[in-house]
């Protein structure tokens, strides 16, 4: 029966080929435009670490000065980063399962191999838990341990791509690299790791490339390498030295904790509140209701407005676009089916039930929808290339379609076409056989 319906549908499509092509094109372009924007939006607002995003929290403390809030336009917001002294103090807490402090720097790598030119490496100064907490995969070796943090050991974990550039992808654990003229022992090489969006550093460059090297934060306490990310300061005590900077009210350290249970989260929040009261007694945290906040990964991405609002606008417009394409399809189907009325009348007179006619026409509509969906996928692919081209590399990681999206696109187009086809199909079933038999 289905095959018979299929044959009929194909026959009908060929009878009005140009109209059918127009319908496929309309659905295709609508789906294509919609999918292009949806793909970027989906990747942009995706969960970069789904299995534990609700257990990882960015920590904020309001150490800001009394007269003005940290963010003049949105006074309810706390600084996104911590002062060095607060980060170091929070490291003392045993409540979180894991915890880390970090900041980025740019260091010049001078390869031992004279054929390779010196290059800039974005380096993350961080603490041991970084790797286990964010689930970094290792190709060779592993992370450093707490003793390396406390002794400021000159060890490094490097990214897979840096390892490929400098060591040709060989196991380089045990080798040394020279960063800003200081030798570091490589203890680990990462495998491919590229969370999208890059939830850490979300406040700065959420779609940037992953860092090249990772070094214990304690090394920089004496090395004095400048922070690459944001540094915001207040206060009227002069900062004349790096030591003074570390002890200042400048916020520049990103701090994350892993809290596995709700009880742990509550305990940690009370700990933070207690910490603020304690610091208040020492004359810090001047704002009367200075508070602490923790945000889990997805919250944090929203808080930092990682999704470019332009793409929300585009998404709204793309949906309206798809609606136009569907209305267009409904109108064309109505016209097409109305032309079919005499034929339907004849079939009905010969004994076809309404249900049979309905099914027949629906198969045809579904076929058009499928054609539209496939065209749409093709166009979305082109569209994504277009987005990639006009974004000058900003969203390269976002313009990929995964399986879910491909299936969703096909499903949406068939469902959309079926919905668009329901009314015309229903209309055609209402054809009273007699009317059309008479006119013949």
């Amino acid at each position: 029966m289905f095959l018979y319906n299929l044959r009929l549908a194909i026959k009908s499509i060929r009878r009005n080929l140009s109209l059918s092509v127009l319908m496929v094109a309309a659905i295709g372009i609508g789906i294509g435009a919609c999918m292009t924007v949806v793909t970027v939006y989906y990747m942009m607002s995706g969960d970069p670490i789904p299995h534990k995003s609700d257990r990882l929290f960015a920590v904020q403390l309001n150490n800001w000065e009394a007269p003005g809030p940290f963010d003049q336009d949105r006074p309810e917001r706390l600084p996104e980063l911590l002062t060095y002294q607060d980060a170091m103090n929070l490291m003392e807490s045993d409540i979180p399962t894991r915890k880390l402090a970090m900041h980025a720097s740019g260091l010049t790598l001078d390869p031992a191999n004279p054929d390779i030119n010196p290059m800039l490496t974005t380096t993350l100064f961080t603490t041991t838990d970084f790797f286990a907490m964010f689930d970094l995969p290792f190709q060779y070796g592993g992370a450093w341990d707490e003793s390396a943090d406390s002794s400021a050991a000159e060890v490094a974990v490097i990214s897979r791509s840096l390892n490929e550039t400098v060591f040709g992808g060989e196991n380089s654990v045990g080798e040394r690299i020279s960063l800003d003229n200081r030798e570091f022992l490589i203890i680990g090489v990462l495998d491919h790791w590229e969370p999208v969006p890059r939830f850490y550093s979300a406040h700065n460059n959420a779609f940037g490339e992953t860092d090249d090297a990772f070094i214990p934060l304690s090394v920089n306490a004496t090395w004095e390498k400048q922070n690459f990310g944001n540094t915001n300061c207040w206060g009227d005590s002069p900062i004349d030295s790096y030591a003074a900077f570390l002890g200042s009210e400048c916020v520049w350290i990103e701090y994350w904790v892993e809290l596995d249970t709700a009880a742990q989260q509550d305990r940690y929040l009370s700990y933070l509140a207690a910490y603020i009261s304690e610091q208040k007694r020492l004359g810090r945290f001047p704002i009367a209701d200075a508070s602490a906040e923790i945000h889990d990964v997805n919250d944090w991405l929203v808080y930092n407005e990682v999704v470019n609002p332009d793409f929300r606008v585009l998404l709204g417009l793309a949906i309206m676009f798809l609606v136009v394409c569907l209305i267009n399809t409904v109108a064309l189907l109505l016209a097409k089916f109305s032309a079919n009325a005499p034929r339907v009348g004849l079939r009905r007179a010969l004994g076809a039930s309404k249900a049979t006619i309905f099914k027949q026409n629906l198969v045809e509509v579904g076929l058009i929808g499928l054609g539209g969906g496939m065209l749409g996928l093709l166009l979305a692919r082109l569209g994504l290339q277009g987005v990639k081209a006009v974004n000058l590399g900003q969203y390269d990681q976002l313009v990929r379609m995964d399986q879910t999206l491909v299936i969703a696109a096909l499903l949406v187009s068939v469902v959309a076409a079926l919905i668009a086809g329901l009314y015309p199909t229903w209309r055609i079933c209402q054809v009273p056989p007699a009317t059309y038999l008479k006119t013949q």
């Binding site: 900077f245 709204g316 417009l317 109108a331 109505l334 109305s338 277009g386 000058l392 209309r427």
Partner: protein
């Protein structure tokens, strides 16, 4: 052309007409709002930067060698670059204007507030640049009053320092914001710690770091050289010689000192383009959306009209046989389309405003300029008429003899 029979014919096929009205209405809402956003982005990207973007080159220098001497390296590199033929000015800086990355500090016009603890200080936020005495030539900014820095005012600044600067140069907007007048020459500016500096120069407005910042022209220049080992250079050249000088820099500069790495030698236009890439891509994506939407809607109109013509071939023939001219038939389809489009744009105008209100509300976009609505109406009218023209002409070509034939 009598409208009544056309209207009653339309009402007999209400669904088709309503669908077309809806389609035109949504099309209008999308293209008018898209066009408005595009025009705003274009205006934003075409603002006058106030400095000589097309003739500037920028690059980074990273000192890393064991024997790297920042002061010597900077002096040698600056002097060498300034000596290159075609170069008008060279300055070092920690960050670049219009690069979406930079420093801002708070300042005040008076130092008194700093004596009273907790006083509500009227703070001025300015985007700051530490540059050398060639700054005006290196940027190509226009001096309104005063002078550039003296070489002796230019000293090395460590990242952690509490001193302000012996002198500062500010843009007109910043002068007006700070002192209420652009005649700020000789006045004193206080930094966040209450340290004073004399305003020695006022320049025409130039844009600062962040293209989305409301106070983009609040720029303050301070004399100095950023502490190493990282800094950036800006080189401004005579018009038309940028690429030539850039090649010379690429070929000769890196080899002059192996203790530092020269990176990202690029025309300033690229830096600016990068900062505006969100706006740039939004513009292109919106234009693409408009083009596709307009084609879909036109194709829909063409498709429906062609279909109607084919369906009504016999009636058209009959009308022709009983005296209707070709013009009458052509007119029929044109007027029919005009009626439907008019319905569409009336609804579309409401929808356009609604969509704009959503955009204003949710994404704080600007309120639509009302003139865009009549423009949108006009465009859709013309579009509808153009789309229907081909099928209508075909209809008008149907021979009266058709009527005598059976289907």
């Amino acid at each position: 052309m009598p409208i009544r029979p056309i209207l009653s014919a339309l009402l007999r096929n209400k669904t088709g007409a309503v669908l077309l009205v809806l389609q035109i209405a949504i099309t209008m809402a999308v293209i008018v709002n898209a066009a408005f956003i595009v025009s705003q982005r274009l205006a934003k990207m075409n603002r006058d930067p106030g400095f000589d973007v097309p003739n500037m080159i920028a690059f980074q220098s990273w000192g890393f060698g064991a024997d790297y001497n920042h002061e010597v390296a900077v002096k040698e590199d600056t002097d060498y670059l300034a000596s290159l033929p075609g170069v008008l000015g060279v300055t070092t800086t920690a960050s670049l204007p219009l690069s979406n990355s930079g420093s801002a500090n708070t300042f005040a016009a008076t130092g008194e507030e700093f004596d009273e603890a907790g006083a509500d200080t009227p703070e001025i936020v300015a985007n700051t640049y530490v540059m050398n005495e060639q700054v005006l030539d290196a940027l190509g900014v226009e001096l309104v009053a005063g002078r550039t820095f003296y070489p002796e005012e230019v000293s090395y600044r460590t990242p952690q320092h509490s001193s302000f600067a012996p002198s500062v140069i500010m843009t007109r907007d910043l002068a007006i914001e700070t002192y209420g007048t652009e005649d700020a020459l000789g006045k004193t500016l206080y930094d966040g710690l209450g340290n004073p500096a004399e305003v020695v120069g006022i320049i025409e407005n130039m844009q600062g770091a962040w293209v989305d910042w409301d106070d983009l022209t609040h720029v303050l220049l301070m004399p100095g050289i950023a502490a190493g080992p990282f800094l950036r250079y800006i080189v401004r050249v005579e018009p038309g010689r940028r690429d030539e000088v850039m090649r010379v820099i690429e070929e000769t500069l890196p080899a002059r000192n192996s203790e530092r790495m020269i990176r990202r030698i690029q025309p300033f236009t690229e830096i600016v383009a990068r900062s505006y890439r969100r706006d740039h891509s939004m513009t292109i994506l919106l234009i693409a959306t408009v083009i596709m939407l307009v084609s879909i809607t036109s194709l829909g109109i063409i498709g429906l009209a062609s279909f109607a013509v084919r369906q009504r071939t016999k009636q058209i023939g009959t009308r022709r046989a009983i005296g209707a001219t070709r013009r009458d038939i052509l007119g029929y389809f044109m007027v029919e389309n005009w009626l439907v489009t008019t319905g569409g744009v009336l609804l579309g105008a409401l929808l356009t405003v609604a969509v704009n209100m959503w955009l204003v509300d949710a994404y704080s976009l600007e309120k639509l300029d009302w003139a865009y609505i009549p423009a949108g109406v006009l465009i859709l009218w013309v579009l509808g008429q153009l789309a229907v023209l081909v099928p209508a002409i075909r209809a008008s070509g149907i021979a009266p003899a058709i009527a005598t034939r059976t289907v």
